[in-house]
């Protein structure tokens, strides 16, 4: 009995979709080829970088011929001869502080703009958004000097703190808008129920709204954390001593400055920096895509 069933099954067409014509089959094959080509276009340069990081035959410069010898000496150089570890710590510190500060401010403003109708609400949001279309570099001339002025009053104010403030400030409007849109979708009947159950304004915010908005908050926090990792311009403008560089500024010195040039070490450093971020992106792929889509759908 079993053999008969099996035979019959293979002759059955089980899919809901239409059968493909020859043209259709050709199209599908072509699609796959195109996709594969692009995948190669992406993977090849990246693998080259990975390979170079481990290629011991290179000394100051990168070579991409057949000669390959596995070694970790570039990584050693990175950790011992350069200030790589400082840069890592700096970047994490700045990114983390930015994320925390941004979350703190934006969670309040997002809630206020969503739940309260107050005078100047629309106008102020529009104004801030307009002001923030002015790119941050518009102020580079001033940032450095401003830091000196503030440091004269509060000596503990480091350049890194200035950087953190600039990063946070630059994202307030956009993040408020996004968070506001998300909180808008939380029914205000929950607020009413909480009021009757005995919550004050702050308690409604803390116990009800924020836990529900957590996915969006995490997304915003993630964005604010990654931003400083990727930014090159501001650290270059603001940070003066190599010890205080971020990864972007620091790794750059491994490439452009003849005195500290070491391209393979750069490849190694780049690899080490890229891996965690790529993993992070992978893990949160779904959230990112849906978050972006939501933002776009809301307009």
């Amino acid at each position: 009995m079993g053999i008969f069933n099996r035979k019959k099954k293979s002759q059955l067409y089980l899919s809901d979709r239409q059968e493909l014509t020859l043209f259709g089959k050709f199209g599908v094959a072509a699609s796959h080829i195109v996709l594969m080509i692009w995948a190669v276009v992406i993977i090849w340069p990246l693998t080259q970088m990975v390979v170079s990081a481990f290629n011991g035959k290179q000394s100051g410069y990168l070579i991409l011929n057949r000669e390959f010898e596995f070694s970790l000496k570039h990584f050693e150089h990175l950790f011992q001869e350069t200030l790589y570890l400082n840069w890592v710590w700096n970047t994490i510190f700045i990114a983390g502080a930015t994320a925390v500060l941004t979350l703190f401010i934006v969670s309040f403003t997002g809630y206020a703009y969503s739940r309260y109708r107050f005078k100047g609400r629309k106008a102020s949001l529009m104004t801030i958004m307009l002001i923030q279309t002015i790119p941050t570099f518009a102020g580079i001339t001033a940032f450095f000097t401003m830091h000196s002025i503030i440091a004269s009053v509060v000596p503990q104010f480091t350049r890194q703190m200035m950087l953190i403030l600039i990063y946070s400030g630059g994202a307030i409007a956009a993040n408020t808008f996004i968070l506001k849109g998300y909180i808008d979708s939380i029914s205000s009947e929950l607020d009413d129920a909480a009021k009757i159950d005995g919550c004050s304004n702050m308690q409604i915010y803390r116990l009800i709204i924020m836990p529900i908005a957590r996915p969006m908050l995490m997304l915003i926090g993630l964005w604010s954390f990654i931003g400083p990792f990727m930014d090159f311009l501001l650290p270059r403008v603001l940070l003066t001593s190599p010890r205080s560089y971020t990864l972007a500024a620091g790794l750059f010195t491994l490439v452009n400055d003849f005195r500290t040039m070491n391209q393979p070490a750069f490849a190694a450093g780049g690899l080490l920096t890229a891996v965690p971020i790529v993993l992070l992106f992978m893990a949160l792929q779904n959230q990112l895509a849906s978050g972006l889509a939501k933002g776009s759908v809301k307009g």
């Binding site: 029914s187 009413d192 129920a193 009757i196 159950d197 529900i212 957590r214």
Partner: protein, 361 residues
């Protein structure tokens, strides 16, 4: 606890007119009071004012004689069930129900007792530790009820709680709510636009339209003695037939002259002063006399016959095209296309002054 409203008014800032004005209402202890009305009539605003979610512009709100205008919602000893249940999605059912008590820092023992008790009554004991998104609509509704019950409030406020349920479940919950009310004996104020719910559940109905109270009374009163045309048209399904006309020589004559009704003895007195004036007559669909042999009758053509099993609803037209809805027992024989004569049950005639809409008899 009884709830009294004296000359309550509500005016929103920025608007010139009052949304609600001069609302006077007395709700007794253990009442099941239904505030009924079409959308936008102000009933939800009124409920929210009783709850304290909207402010009261003028007038007094009294719970057992104590003035509650400025008391915060959490201090009013009320509980509210929302249309969309408003369950906290990130908490379990247990935590949802316990929330209000834990905000008051009640003893955990007490909280647990109350929650389990309410869960037992509402038959949701098995779902205590799941999140609201994992249970069905009907169960969520019961959780919302449970959350309200746990507070042991003096007044239940309900804002169209059944409107999100399917028809069968709605029927079932109607009975459940009434049973619950009898069991707990708490004063309940219930807002809805569905007159069936009002008629079946209420011990007192308050019909509102356009920010004003149209009538207050028992369901029977609403059905048998509507105070004005609006009420007459709102309550009762199928809708009451309203025919425009005037009083000529003591009789009601419709404008199209096709219908004449000699009023019942008891109604003649009050109709006397409307001689010559415009009057509307109202007849409920089940109060037509089949047979049409004696008294005033009207001839109609039957267009559509709706077969409901226990009754038939005949959608008819008078000769000038005016529609009448007549319901008859199901075992009577009627078909569309037929022409019949119907008489009137004179005791059940309603007469309204066309100008004011007010009831005459």
């Amino acid at each position: 606890m009884n709830v009294t409203m004296k000359k309550i008014g509500k005016k929103y800032e920025g608007r010139d007119e009052f949304t609600l004005k001069d609302i006077n209402l007395e709700i007794e202890n253990k009442d099941f009071c239904v505030i009924l009305g079409p959308s936008g009539c102000g009933k939800t605003t009124l409920l929210r004012m009783i709850a304290g979610l909207n402010s009261i512009t003028e007038g007094d709100l009294l719970f057992d004689g104590k003035r509650m205008n400025k008391v915060a919602p959490k201090d009013r000893d009320i509980a509210m069930v929302f249309q969309s249940y408003a369950l906290y999605p990130h908490m379990t059912v247990y935590d949802n129900m316990a929330f209000s008590l834990s905000m008051r820092k009640e003893r955990k023992q007490l909280i647990d007792e109350r929650v389990r008790e309410a869960a037992k009554v509402l038959q949701i004991e098995d779902n205590l530790y799941v999140k609201p998104s994992d249970i069905s609509g009907g169960q969520r509704q019961r959780v919302a009820l449970g959350r309200a019950m746990v507070r042991n409030p003096k007044v239940f406020l309900m804002d169209e709680p059944l409107s999100n349920l399917d028809a069968k479940l709605r029927e079932h919950m109607r009975v459940e709510l009434v049973r619950l009310h009898k069991q707990l004996g708490t004063t309940t104020i219930y807002v809805t636009h569905d007159q069936t719910e009002a008629m079946t559940m209420a011990s007192k109905i308050v019909l509102m339209d356009d920010g004003k109270i149209q009538q207050v009374g028992k369901p029977e009163d609403f059905y048998n003695r509507p105070e004005n045309i609006f009420v007459a048209g709102f309550i009762g399904s199928p809708t009451m037939n309203i025919i425009k006309g005037s009083i000529q020589e003591g009789k009601f004559v419709s404008d199209n002259k096709l219908m004449t009704v000699t009023p019942h003895k008891e109604h003649q007195e009050s109709l006397r002063e409307f001689e010559g004036k415009k009057v509307s007559a109202g007849v409920r669909s089940e109060r037509f006399e089949a047979g049409g042999k004696y008294g005033d009758t009207i001839d109609v053509d039957i267009e559509v016959v709706e077969m409901l099993g226990k009754e038939k609803i005949l959608y008819c037209r008078m000769d000038d095209g005016h529609q009448l809805t007549i319901s008859t027992p199901g075992h009577y024989d009627y078909d569309d296309g037929q022409r019949h004569s119907f008489g009137f049950d004179l005791e059940a005639m309603h007469y309204f002054d066309q100008e004011t809409g007010e009831r005459i008899n």
